[in-house]
């Protein structure tokens, strides 16, 4: 039996994975600091059958690292990063990195994110705004001022994008060492998701049409094989 039908099936499976990724991008079109994902495919050589027949498999997923557009909110603790890099937050599982800069204060005045995790300063501890402070401001270098008094600087770091593992809740983890340089902080703005909805729709059409033609291929192979069985196999 020819291997073509399996090649088509592997292709259809890859397209299904591509649909999942596109669906996740579109679902996160309004998630602050979200970076769109792209699946790349690679050939897996089928040496057992013949050198020309290759299967496809989803191999690696590159993140689209382009910056999302900045949305002005005029809330001083809404922070956007210009240039690649991450804020650090403290979680139960250790330090995690995020570009979602919608920070706020907790009851004790510590700077936290939407999930209540504390933002880390470059000294490693949390940043606490004194309760009587009436104004908080953050400079481009990430230094936080409460009523004009510096209370520390936010930890900002850069990593090679390939080394970042997605953890959900807009967090990333990594075991890689940070790179040199820091991103610039813009206070009073949020980085919106960089998902391009138009591109998402095009991907959607492309995926479903490719999937459809791969299914037609499966039907074609089946048809060929059943005809071969009918015409050649049975007694004349």
């Amino acid at each position: 039996m020819g291997s073509g039908i399996y090649i088509a099936a592997a292709g259809a499976e890859s397209q299904a994975a591509a649909l999942d990724v596109t669906a996740n991008n579109i679902a996160n079109a309004a998630t602050t600091g979200f970076k769109a994902e792209r699946v790349s495919f690679r050939q897996a050589l089928d040496s057992a059958q013949s050198a020309d027949a290759t299967y496809v498999e989803g191999s690696s997923k590159a993140d689209d690292q382009t910056a999302g557009s900045l949305v002005q909110t005029s809330n001083p603790l809404d922070l956007a990063l210009v240039g690649d890099g991450y804020f650090s937050v403290e979680t139960d599982a250790g330090t995690r990195y995020t570009r979602a800069g919608a920070f706020r204060l907790d009851a004790a005045g510590a700077i936290i994110n939407a999930a209540g995790q504390k933002a880390l300063s470059n000294g490693g501890g949390p940043l606490t705004v004194p309760p009587e402070a009436s104004q908080v401001s953050v400079t481009a270098t990430g230094e936080v001022f409460a009523d004009g008094e510096s209370i520390g600087s936010l930890a900002l770091s850069r990593f090679s994008p390939g080394a970042m593992k997605r953890e959900g809740a807009s967090l990333f983890s990594t075991t890689a060492a940070p790179l040199d340089g820091t991103p610039e902080v813009v206070s009073g703005a949020l980085e919106s998701s960089n998902v391009n909805v138009v591109r998402g729709m095009v991907d959607l059409v492309k995926v479903s049409r490719t999937y459809e033609s791969l299914l037609r291929m499966i039907e074609g192979y089946r048809e060929t094989e059943s005809r071969a069985a009918r015409d050649l196999g049975g007694p004349k």
Partner: protein, 261 residues
């Protein structure tokens, strides 16, 4: 493929929440002292098919893994405590707070509630009350036969009794501040309640302790900006629509698979 169906459903749910929050903001566009909210989203867990950075040969590693996300969820709705614009009304009992403070209101059950709505009134006993008739904490009372009421920027209330020329001080407003005002719980009727997230109320008279000053004859309007809300409405609606297209694409692909001949 079943993943993409539930992923798109989570996207639709998130956009629905955004629409709900936006519509509440728009509905309260002319509510005095109303603070707008916004929905914040975060991505769900990822299924790691291939870990990033696995070795692909001696000294080489894959530049990125294969992780497939499961969609989005609403992480929080945050109330934005930016100052609303101030409107001159000329009514002596319309008092706006310029700053971070809140009026402290005594609820009928003895609890304290907090409000930015400064459309105060007098009840039959001469107490300063809000639109619900709940009195301000501190028991501020105005005598029945007053000609005029003056509220200074520092919250001092003085009244001029009919026939007198000298104003008499009857008390001073108290304002509450919180470490994290976004953590207050809205209980409707323009009132908020302290929670563990907001921290305890710190009361101080206007002009002291960062509570801000008060302005008589002025109302603080809602801080909702209609243009922003309209943009949110449109983007939320379109994002919802695109998610429904994902459902349709996944459904069509499933149907084609099921109907393979």
């Amino acid at each position: 493929m079943h993943r993409s169906l539930s992923t798109a459903a989570s996207g639709m749910e998130a956009q629905q929440t955004k629409l709900d929050v936006t519509s509440n903001n728009i509905a309260n566009v002319s509510t005095a002292g109303f603070k707008k909210s916004r929905a914040e989203f975060s991505d769900l867990l990822y299924q790691t098919v291939k870990k990033p950075g696995v070795a692909t040969g001696e000294g080489t590693q894959s530049p990125g893994g294969l992780q497939i996300g499961m969609g989005v969820r609403t992480a929080a709705t945050q109330r934005m405590h930016s100052q609303g614009s101030l409107q001159q009304t000329g009514n002596p009992l319309d008092i706006a707070i310029e700053g971070r403070g809140f009026f402290v209101i005594e609820m009928p059950n003895g609890d304290q509630a907090f409000s930015r709505d400064g459309a105060l009134k007098l009840d039959s006993e001469g107490r300063l009350v809000n639109s619900e008739g709940f009195p301000l904490a501190g028991g501020l009372t105005v005598p029945p036969d007053v000609d005029s009421i003056a509220v200074a920027a520092n919250g001092t209330i003085s009244v001029t009794v009919a026939g007198d020329t000298e104003p008499v001080e009857v008390g001073r407003l108290e304002l509450a501040t919180f470490a994290n005002p976004a953590g207050l719980e809205a209980i409707g009727k323009n009132m908020l309640r302290a929670t563990a997230a907001s921290g305890a109320a710190v009361t101080a008279p206007p002009g002291e302790g960062g509570a801000g000053s008060v302005a008589q004859g002025t109302l603080e309007l809602s801080n909702v900006k209609v243009v922003e809300e309209m943009v949110d409405l449109i983007s939320g609606q379109r994002a919802y629509e695109v998610n429904t297209r994902v459902v349709r694409a996944a459904d069509e692909m499933l149907a084609q698979t099921a109907n393979l001949k």
